[in-house]
Symmetry: C2
Amino acid sequence: MSNRKYERFCELNRKIAVLSSAAGLLSWDQETHMPPKGAIIKAEQMGVLSGIIHNLKTDKELVGLTEELLHDSSLDDVARTNVYEFNRTLQKSLQLSTEFVEELNRTISAAYPAWHQAKTYSRFELFAPHLERLIELKKQEIQLTGYQLHPYDALMDDFEPGLTTHEVDRLFDDVRKELVPFVQTITKHSSPDDSFFNQPYDENLQVAFGRTVLEAMGYDFSSGRMDRTEHPFCIGLHPGDVRVTYKIKPHDISEIIWGLIHEGGHALYEQGLPADQFGLASGSAASLSIHESQSRFWENNIGRSSAFWNFFFPKLQLTFPEQLKHIHANDFYKAANRVTPSLIRIQADELTYHFHIMIRYEIEKSIFEGKLTVNDLPGFWNKLYKEYLGLDVPNDAQGILQDVHWCHGGFGYFPTYSLGSFYAAQFYYAMNKELNTEELIEKGNLIPILDWLRTNIHQHGMKHRAQQLCEKVTGEKLNFAYFMQYAHKKYNSIYHINN
Amino acid sequence: MSNRKYERFCELNRKIAVLSSAAGLLSWDQETHMPPKGAIIKAEQMGVLSGIIHNLKTDKELVGLTEELLHDSSLDDVARTNVYEFNRTLQKSLQLSTEFVEELNRTISAAYPAWHQAKTYSRFELFAPHLERLIELKKQEIQLTGYQLHPYDALMDDFEPGLTTHEVDRLFDDVRKELVPFVQTITKHSSPDDSFFNQPYDENLQVAFGRTVLEAMGYDFSSGRMDRTEHPFCIGLHPGDVRVTYKIKPHDISEIIWGLIHEGGHALYEQGLPADQFGLASGSAASLSIHESQSRFWENNIGRSSAFWNFFFPKLQLTFPEQLKHIHANDFYKAANRVTPSLIRIQADELTYHFHIMIRYEIEKSIFEGKLTVNDLPGFWNKLYKEYLGLDVPNDAQGILQDVHWCHGGFGYFPTYSLGSFYAAQFYYAMNKELNTEELIEKGNLIPILDWLRTNIHQHGMKHRAQQLCEKVTGEKLNFAYFMQYAHKKYNSIYHINN
């Protein structure tokens, strides 16, 4: 049965996606190839394009169609989901006046350079007034768009549709009960040596090795490319054009390896989305946490496994014979899994990482519950770092000012990182019921693993929300036990812990 | 005196330019970095963007403002020019119905692959029906947009505002009278050896040398970059972001050298346009022939001069000591100026090049005078190549099918290439009245040369049309005598011709 109105709805959604994809290329260029003096015209291009995209999204015809289709009982499940998910973000946009959006954008634009300067000189007071204004505006936004139980739910909903503070609280209770003591046990044991990561490694050879790994993962270079950048990211312009980026540290081989595997995991998801659904929810990633589950699955569950380095270490050693001549595959594996409490989130290992996230979650929640003012933040931050990680924060640059998220107004984003890891562990468990992953990885045969992800996750887009997808794939809702089981198995052995 | 209407006119023009610049980045990406499977989304992005740009250009508000401002006597000269030039292209667009434009675009889209196949298999009949339809549509376009004296004038006007068939006829009469016999004299003398161009040259070193030359020319790498491509071009997204591209032939050093100098000449013009006039005629290139005058000035007048190689050859020799060990600067200079009649326009030397253009001009003019049908074209082409260049065309791939221009509907474009060279010679003559260019070039000090071009040409944008600009800079209209004078001086010496 053909439905003209739904077809038109899809057409308009595709046009929006095509323009967003063009805007995506502009931002990719900004981070990879743009000459310095190209910044001005780039900002103008992005401003004009985002204005046009906003107008298309809230255009009368599309709003009217959406309204009608919401009540069209002839739609199948996928179509219904596509209409429903579009309407969800549309209704939010419609609650915000142009003046409000413009002021938010102006505030964000001014906040970034202030944050950058504040971080450079470690002077929180330079960023504080901007942060205060951003929080005020976000509080207004919450009031305008509404929420059911907790104001913070409205913020998380932008990144993780339907996720509630209630769920995240319960999850982090488990983390506190199980992961915190486990890390305390681990850190009482002696840590593996990872000093050989920090030697001079030829930059071209680093890139060549990274490419080999991406190819083995099944990343399709005819639908993508890899470029150097300062802050690595992956961008999916369309399933036929998904680009990854990497950072090179000339004296640290670990940066490019797990950076590229991580971005490669994101990229495989984007390359595996159904191209014929481009622009619709059914052609989009299910949520940020599911996206992150893919990157962390490849980075940690696969890319920091013993089997992985049994296969890849000999290749790496051939590439860098001088640097790695006295190292064994097992040494490399252990070094890749060194657990150390640290100050900086993006440098954290896969266990203590979640303490960084819990701290941010607790702070953000308190801010939007009205329990913390901006001036309280550095002190509260430092208190929590002492509590969870046992560390004294020496200055705000290495503390409250380290992340870029807040100056973009990205409150409610952080929890998706932890959820991603926990989903990854649960998916990995489910996969192992069907595949002998270790045996496959040992042989460097990663394609069946990708195929499993394609079949079970990628091809579905956002047909199911994260929680439902998880149930469909694993038979149950997100369960932190799988992460702890994975952590115990791996780290008990590396750290010789008996329990 | 502030003029609100004119300010709004400028604002709308700038918005159009900002979006065109975004479209420019998409096309740069297509030719340099896009992965193969990114082609589909790219075509969609470009289609959607060009539709939006067309709508903005013909939007009621802008059309109304333009109409009013055309009769606003309070405008200064520059503002008047900006309104006038915008209106010129606007009126053309308004004459063409959406259906007509869509059919033209469809025909062009279908023509490109047909031309490509026809060229690959050297089968003109595969392209002929497409060419026939393109010519029909272009004839309709001429009728719709109108012309004063000759239908071909309407076509040239798209690339060279105001240029007439009458002027080009007179110019090519001079070429026939003076350049044709001069080339005949030259080719009776023995040619310099250029076989050392064709050796293996390391690709990275080729690029490094090319970069050195661009830097010496004053190309600002903080407002640009250079990338590899198959068909080299320069694209100016804004004076702050002007990118050049190059082709590498691993066995021919000449390709990258004069390719990059040529594109660098275009780029210096774009980098030198006034950024505060971006989007207006006063911030745009005067015409295609003036653009080409800049690329050819650097490529030929500077980049194939004896002084240039006296300075740069020792550097090139240091880069490629093996390949160039028995070569002297003067041998290199002479090789760079070898004159040989040849079949392919883009491989021609700076003298016989103009015969290729005259042939195309004669053919295009006859087509739009209704004197030639599509079936006559290959024969007529081959006849003219015999007449002007003394060559038998062995097949259509090396004959009538060699250029991409027609399948894009680009009739009327070719003459701007010759005009560019002739303007370049005249500008060079004028420059030499103020600067001792040879002495500067010998020292590798090219910046005063760039400064002269900036002051006399670049900064004026399109405030003056090509002919008026030429008069302003040189004191007279385009005069072919300067090109012949330049040619005599250079080639009499290289070829030991006494007259």
